[in-house]
Each structure stands twice: as C-alpha cells, then as structure tokens.
C-alpha cells in the first residue's frame, strides 16, 4: 500500500466477528485466508448463522478450507457479475442485524460494498480486509468508462484511450479510483508507464 496517501483512499481492516446472528461473507481468491484467520477467533457456533459466497481462482484453491468452516450456506461463483443477482436477492430479503464481511481484492470489496450500500447498509458497519492483488478499478473522469484491473501508473482508458493519472481519490458509489488525463495541458508529454499496482 502507498506510504503516503489521502483520506478518500479506502482503508481496510482485519475481519473480526461482529455481534448478531446472521453473517454474510463475500470473498475472492486470497480473501478466503482472511475468513479462515477470522474463524480462529470466532465464538463457537458463529458459522451456523453464516453464508459464504466465494469467487475462487481458476484452480479452486481455498474452497475446501471454507467448506470446512461449515457455514449454513456456501456458494461458489465464477465471477462477481455472476453472483450479482443472487447477492441482490439475499440483501433484499435480509433483516437488520445482518453483518457483512468483504475480503479479497479491492475490486471485489468495492463492488460488493456498492451493492450493499444500495440495499441500505451503512459502509462504516461493513467489515473489510484486503488480500491479494492491488489492481484497481478506475473511472475515467472524462468519458466515465470504468477500466478493470489497472496495474500501471499512468494507465490508458479502455474506452476513450486518454492517458490517465490513477489517483488515490476513491468513490464508494462508483467503486472506483479516479483517472484524470495526465498530459491534458500538453499532449506531447508522454510520461513512462510503470507497474504500480501489482
């Protein structure tokens, strides 16, 4: 994580068991490890009221470890887009007292949070833990297109092709960092493109 950043840059914590009877976990790839680590600190019977929704890496790593926690429900999805209808249905039927735990890549955390915000969960009540890739979702402030998995600084907008400075300024509503044209004043200036978010 960047040494010096700004206040709008999301800060992730360490998952910790919350009071209540209903717990919904959404994780991808190495986010599973955050759930396993938390399970070691959870009170007995905690996962009896839990649902885990997991997007594994192609190899299916960590699936067995999560199933071993014996959650009330376990669901595997190949991508975030594929679990979206299910997630929306779960949230629209849920009651106050449901606690949300998000773990894994920033893209996953941000997009799941976006759906939960719309369902009426306050962002400060969600538990988050970042694990794995630092790749960013970026919104081009000029054409409004979202570019997924941005790893370089600057980065090219996948929609309009402008060369964008990837800022730390982050919008929960859009689940994206802001990209602003880096050579707007003089398009002949071409700063080198470097790997920044591995």
């Amino acid at each position: 994580m960047a040494a010096k950043s700004i206040i709008s840059r999301p800060v992730y914590g360490t998952l910790s068991p919350q009071p209540g009877k209903h717990h919904l976990f959404i994780a991808d790839a190495e986010g599973a490890l955050a759930i396993s680590d938390m399970a070691a600190r959870a009170p007995a019977g905690f996962f009896e009221g839990a649902e885990i929704v997991y997007i594994p890496d192609p190899g299916g790593k960590h699936v067995a470890a999560l199933e071993a926690l014996k959650p009330a429900q376990f669901h595997q999805a190949p991508s975030f887009a594929s679990l979206l209808p299910r997630l929306k249905q779960t949230l629209s039927n849920a009651h106050m007292g449901l606690r949300l735990y998000l773990a894994g890549t920033e893209g996953l955390i941000g997009q799941a949070m976006q759906v939960a915000l719309e369902a009426g969960i306050d962002h400060t009540s969600m538990q988050t833990e970042h694990r794995g890739s630092l790749a960013r979702r970026m919104q081009c402030v000029h054409c409004k297109g979202i570019t997924e998995n941005v790893t370089t600084q600057p980065a090219i907008c996948a929609h309009c092709g402008l060369l964008l400075l990837v800022r730390d300024h982050y919008s929960r509503r859009l689940a994206a960092f802001q990209g602003v044209c880096i050579n707007a004043e003089d398009r002949s200036e071409m700063p080198p493109i470097e790997e920044a978010f591995p």
Partner: protein, 321 residues
C-alpha cells in the same frame, strides 16, 4: 466564530391541559409573522422569567413542521424537579409574552432510511409527533411503538391512533403489556433506522439489545436530554472573567455562570450538543458528570465539564470561563 441560536419573541396563544400530568402550550410570533420552518425532532429552548430567576429549558416541537403559524410543546409536570415544569404549569397563561430560541435539531430523521422504526416511552412521545407528521406528509414508511403507564397517561395515544391507525402500537404498563423488543428488532427490513426517546433506562435497554442483535450504531438514534439535577451548593472561580460564583441547590452550573453575566454558547442545555463544554483549570474535589457528550476518558481526566447538567462537590473548582 460564534455559535448559538437567534431568539424569537412569542406570545402564548393557548394553554391546553392534556391529562393529569401533561399540559400543552401554543406559541405564536408577537409580530404576527410565520414562525421559522423546522424539521421533525427539533427542539426550542424556552426562557422562563420566574421573579429574579431565569430558567432555560429545552422542549421538543410537537406540531406538524408543515404548519408554522404556531409552535406547540408539551410539558410533563415534575413535582420533584428544579421547578421549570412547575413554573410552566402554574404561571404560564395564554397571553403571556415569552422568548424562545430558534429551532435546533439534534434528533433528526435519517432520510435515507427505507423504514423508520420509532420507540417512545412516556413524554418521549413529543419529538415523534412532529416526525410522524413530517413523514406522513411525504409518504414515508414508519411504525411507532409507544409505551405508557396507563391509558389515561398515554399522551396523544388516541390522536396518533386516529391519524395513523395500525402504524401505532400501544403498550400499557398497568395492563402488563410489554414490547417484544428482540422480536421487533430481528424482523426489520435492511435499511431500517431505529429512533428511541424516553426514560434513560429505556434508551439504554433498547441500545443494548440493538447492538447485541447486530444493529450498527449508525442506524440507532436516540434523544435523551438530561434535566439538570439539583444538588449541594458549590463555589466556582471563573478564571477568564475573574469572578467567583456560588451555584445554588436548584441551579445548574450553566445558569449560575449566566447569572454572573458570562454567556457561554449553548444549544440543548441537556448534556447532548457539546456547545457549552468548558475546560477545568484546577480542582480539589469530585465531579458529578451527568452529560452524554464527553467521553468516559474525559470524565475521568478532570479536564472538562458540561456546565448545563454536571455538578461538583469539594473544596475548589476553577474554570476557563
């Protein structure tokens, strides 16, 4: 940077006894103009001139925010309190000219809520009178659970039932009717906000149960103005203004400071808003903190006091005022 509220010159336009403990007061502007618009949950501070004593007590506005021809408050008589409610009941008659503050809202609705769940105890019903009127006008989704000692002390219960029918649930202590709190809190749709106003014990109970059942604090709103408690008289030195004052048995520290001609900012006078927070320069004795503003750490430190509701017992107290 100064804070505080503007004052309104009003006349008491009506005084209506509601039941054996509660009386309603209506205020209009002396100049005949409309009163400022307000939002449900707002209060005003009423200035009571009782001989050479001035009391300033906060009361929730209970009329509809859509009607600003008059403001209404309801005052419950407290026979063992410091006398503010007794003054209102005994000395305030229609036609009396009074001064009240602009409305201030420290208990406002979260308008993002998909549903508003309201819990009232006793005279804690008053802010909900305005909030339900506001929400009903906008087609808002709300449900009010109201606990009172007996049906005859269920202030405005009939009126609320008439206005909102089954959105109002009543519980009477004398009939041993109890709110099934855990069940209620466990069956609310996601996006519900909870509001509670009533005695301190009720507020603490509801907040505790909500937290245990997984409700995040952002969705739990409560209003509890602590009334200043009477206590032993004590002496205070005001270092900035160079005055030494005595706080009487029935007087709050803030009132004693004001009586000496020093005017700290205030909004709620109930230990909630933080405006009158005062630094302690030195002390020898013990504080009786009654506020909801300072942290426990602040309370232990002996560096700060909320003069609107808190007191002191001991040899000496020097404040930065």
């Amino acid at each position: 940077m100064s804070t505080g509220t503007t004052k309104l010159d009003v006349v008491v336009s009506d005084v209506v006894p509601v039941n054996e403990l509660v009386t309603r007061f209506h205020f209009r502007r002396r100049d005949g103009e409309l009163l400022p618009t307000f939002s449900g949950g707002a209060h005003v501070v009423v200035e009571m001139r009782d001989g050479d004593r001035t009391r300033l007590n906060p009361y929730s506005l209970m009329g509809s925010p859509l009607d600003t021809r008059e403001y209404t408050i309801s005052v419950r008589r407290d026979d063992v309190g410091r006398g503010g409610s007794l003054f209102m009941h005994r000395s305030v008659k229609a036609g009396l000219e009074m001064v009240i503050s602009y409305p201030v809202n420290l208990f406002s609705l979260d308008l993002r809520a998909k549903k508003h769940l309201m819990l009232a105890g006793g005279i804690g019903i008053t802010p909900f009178m305005a909030q339900t009127a506001q929400l009903a006008g906008e087609g808002g989704n709300f449900e009010l659970h109201y606990t009172c000692r007996t049906a005859s002390l269920g202030t405005y219960a009939d009126l609320l039932r008439e206005r909102y029918d089954r959105r109002i649930r009543l519980y009477h202590d004398d009939l041993d009717e109890r709110i099934e709190l855990d069940r209620l809190l466990s069956t609310q749709p996601l996006g519900t906000h909870l509001y509670v106003c009533g005695p301190a014990g009720m507020i603490n109970w509801v907040r505790d149960r909500a937290a245990s059942l997984g409700w995040p604090p952002e969705a739990v709103h409560f209003e509890h103005f602590a009334a200043p408690q009477p206590g032993l008289p004590f002496d205070v030195t005001l270092a900035v203004s160079g005055k030494t004052i005595r706080v009487g048995e029935q007087q709050s520290l803030l009132e004693a400071i004001e009586a000496a001609g020093v005017d700290p900012p205030y909004l709620c006078r109930g230990g909630v808003c933080g405006q009158c927070e005062t630094n302690v320069i030195s002390y020898d004795g013990k504080f009786i903190h009654n506020d909801h503003w300072l942290s426990e750490e602040d309370h232990r430190s002996g560096w700060k006091i909320m003069p609107c509701v808190s007191r002191f017992e001991g040899k000496s107290l020097v404040l930065e005022r």
